[in-house]
């Protein structure tokens, strides 16, 4: 990867990028755990169906709400500066959470459900 710009900044990521990046990782894990919860708990499934008319629509809404609300909270509580280590660890955090989330969902429907 060779960018055409001559200068490379060593600064970290923006406050918003870090806050919503962390909330993205949390929302991916939340999404996967909610799959297990709703499939194993008839009461949760019934509540999710009742709330929006379909469990999947409620599932989508809840995952989006976790992403947006947690992102806004982290953005507000963050002091505004991210360290250089954030830019190194955030991609790994997001990849890990997506991989773990996908593995939970796939594993659940392949072996448990």
């Amino acid at each position: 990867m060779e960018p055409t710009s001559q200068t490379e900044s060593t600064e970290g990521l923006s406050k918003c990028t870090v806050s919503f990046g962390i909330s993205l990782a949390v929302a991916c894990i939340f999404n996967a755990l909610l799959v297990v919860l709703k499939e194993k708990s008839p009461a949760t499934m019934a509540w999710m169906k009742k709330t929006s008319g379909h469990h999947w629509a409620t599932h989508t809404l809840l995952s989006l709400l976790v992403f947006i609300i947690l992102g806004l909270i982290l953005n507000k509580t963050n002091n505004g500066n991210s360290s250089k280590s954030d830019s190194k660890s955030l991609p790994s955090l997001i990849v890990s959470s997506v991989a773990i989330g996908a593995a939970i969902i796939l594993g659940f429907y392949l072996f448990i459900d």
Partner: protein, 152 residues
């Protein structure tokens, strides 16, 4: 609108999202001040495309998928629903979250900040991989309906 049109529209929009992510990935590998605004604009286009595709797919899934599901479950490929559809419908929620995050990640100065660029490329790669698998899983689900109908 015809359910078949909705079904094809969601596939088309999903493929456009995949192509857009690959295009953005290549643009970002060659990022400079000259194409930074194009990358930011395209990241919004990819996000909007996926959101529309998701809405169309959701509309079809909630209102029109039940007969297909019944055919699949009674046919020779019940796993097309019990594994492939179940996994797809929940993994694409992560895809929706990733494309929603994409324009946020694009706001950093990708041309001059290597860390921001690495993060952006990571998100794009995840979008492309999940969209690719979603497309393939959709093919298996379609085949599940087909073999279910042929076995009647």
């Amino acid at each position: 609108m015809s359910p078949n049109i909705l079904l094809m529209a969601h596939v088309l929009l999903g493929v456009l999202c995949l192509l857009g992510a690959v295009w953005l990935f290549v643009e970002t590998l060659h990022i400079s001040d000259a194409n930074l605004s194009r990358v930011r604009c395209l990241s919004r286009v990819v996000a909007i495309t996926m959101w529309i595709g998701y809405a169309v797919a959701g509309y079809f899934y909630i209102l029109h998928y039940a007969p297909d599901k019944a055919v699949i479950l009674k046919g020779p490929w019940p796993f097309a629903h019990s594994v492939f559809m179940e996994v797809k419908e929940h993994v694409v929620i992560m895809l929706l979250l990733l494309v929603t995050y994409l324009p946020i990640a694009a706001q950093s100065n990708l041309a001059h900040n290597a860390g921001a660029r690495k993060l952006f490329l990571t998100v794009l790669a995840l979008i492309a991989v999940i969209a690719f698998f979603a497309d393939g899983f959709g093919g298996v689900i379609g085949m599940g309906v087909k073999v279910g109908l042929l076995s009647k």
